[in-house]
Symmetry: C2
Subunit: 140 residues, 2 copies
């Protein structure tokens, strides 16, 4: 698929995600193997084969859901656009979205249009768990 803008690629990404269509999903990604995909709380998947395998197992495990996306921040350069979005999933017949997932989406301009190069998704909160990087204790 040829996407004329990063926004067109992003719309196709979330449409493929909702439809749980592996073909539509992989059509959004750049095909040159520098791609990387990080699902929430998961190790990075590098390259086309690993990224596709990750989506395949996710789609096989998932039931029906909808996704609402909200842009939080954007960085635009000539051939690369970075969009930080909040993803709100509404699962099955639920009426309220789950707590948001934060995603950094990177789109690159290839010879034939814009494609996704990186998707880094992470939870904004996990139960009552506080941020893990900095234990708030003085240790010295």
């Amino acid at each position: 698929m040829n996407f004329p803008t990063p926004e067109a690629a992003e719309s196709a990404f979330y449409a493929a995600f909702e439809a749980r269509s592996l073909d539509a999903m992989m059509a959004v990604w750049s095909d040159d193997n520098v791609i990387a995909c990080i699902h929430p709380l998961s190790a990075p998947l590098n390259g086309v084969a690993a990224v596709a395998a990750g989506w395949r197992s996710m789609f096989e495990a998932a039931g029906q859901f909808r996704i609402q996306v909200e842009l939080a921040h954007e960085i635009r350069e000539a051939g690369l656009v970075i969009r930080i979005v909040r993803e709100y999933l509404i699962v099955g017949q639920e009426t309220e979205p789950r707590p948001p997932i934060l995603a950094t989406n990177v789109y690159r301009r290839d010879a034939d249009g814009w494609h996704m190069a990186l998707h880094h998704a992470s939870p904004l909160q996990v139960g009552g768990t506080p941020p893990a990087r900095m234990p708030p204790v003085v240790l010295h």
Copy 2:
């Protein structure tokens, strides 16, 4: 500060992080307000003032620690370089690192050298919590 390469900016970033020096940290970041910083399980901070405030409160709360960084993946374009790294924190007198944090670091070439434009950090695991985005149930 003028950093001749993204790698030089990244070294300075983690040195400032270990030293808990706000001045050294903010010298690594681009100063043009398109910057964004996502600490683990936290909402995005956009712009210089918010990013600085986030590091200040983290540094005030933290004790002594060291960070080891391992490159997982890289995407290089003319004016923008994206490095996905694993961060291993060794806290205080502990001898083993904590479970790794995954970070997407974006560096941009400004008029005066390379600076950080985005830091998105997220845990690779939180206790025994499974990935939150896709509940493995068939709902329809």
